[in-house]
Symmetry: C2
Subunit: 210 residues, 2 copies
Amino acid sequence: MTTDHPGNPPAERPPGRPRSQEADLAILSAALDLLIEQGAAQLSIEQVARRAGVTRATVYRRFADKTALLVRTLQWANHDQDPAFTGWRDVEHMLGDWAAYLAVPRHRRLLRRLYGSADDYPELVGAYRTVNGGRRAAMVRETLGRARAAGLLPQEVDVEVVERILTGAVLYEVGLEADREDAEAIKAHFIDVIRQIGYRADHITFHSAK
Amino acid sequence: MTTDHPGNPPAERPPGRPRSQEADLAILSAALDLLIEQGAAQLSIEQVARRAGVTRATVYRRFADKTALLVRTLQWANHDQDPAFTGWRDVEHMLGDWAAYLAVPRHRRLLRRLYGSADDYPELVGAYRTVNGGRRAAMVRETLGRARAAGLLPQEVDVEVVERILTGAVLYEVGLEADREDAEAIKAHFIDVIRQIGYRADHITFHSAK
């Protein structure tokens, strides 16, 4: 998952004068907004420059092309989301965290834009997965493994497959459900899913009872 | 799921002279190809006309705008896929059928294009879901219900939620797995998923053993 209001400038760039950092932030912020609003195919460096209030040359001094700009934008949007975050307390905390993220319409839209750009801009999906896929997927599996060890999931479940199932549930929610800003309703959908896998916790039943 | 080589002209249009039907088919076929190749946002009536070997006026006589053309294209691509089809024999038949469909790269690409066009062209996703969603989802639930009745799925599973889980597994396969044309490997992924829900059939274990 991403956050789109990180506070720090992009990494891998020596700190410049304040004016230069301001331009960096303005460009990345404009690029993220336009990616969400229009998608990668429709977005142009021209538009990003205009929205950021800088010249095209200022953008091109930093990024060779649109793909390089968007890859950096995704890295930036994800980079500082919560450096201290080391995992979720439990399955409910994890699913509630996802639901809160997905209750923000522009987050859902960003995920749809990325999914839809896989054929034309594979680098974007690659950048997103590098940031979110590796470490995050490992934390999901770790959370599921603890639930299994605690007897909340059947002993025979394969946490790698369950991680894929939950990611599929996110894709279903984002792509096939009408956008909703009710995090509790979204979480209830995820709880319904994991209960089919045999997840059992008494206080969960209360939330997802039909 | 769709097929992209239907043989019949679009419905809701009285049969015209053969030349006119030829133009219909050429336009819809060109529109489907361009939708898959480029996505809805990049596609233009101009391109469709050129690809179909007709004038823009010929396209506009039939379709008010791009959205109307693409909605009809999706209806056409799905319309005659198999009118005699009333359902799958069993869960394995169903998942094998999906896997065979998804082993065709242009089918995966079409699904990604639709997913990514949800914000700009909601009518397209709507048209696809009208064709595929209602009847097909009911057949999926029916197939799952029979498996449950036969003791192949736990009695407590909710077939509506399992249908969503399997659709999520399709979205995962199409969006997050590298494109693969090996239907058996894709089917094994789906079998892995449904086994987490407690699906048990001895002859399945053979296919999906790790």
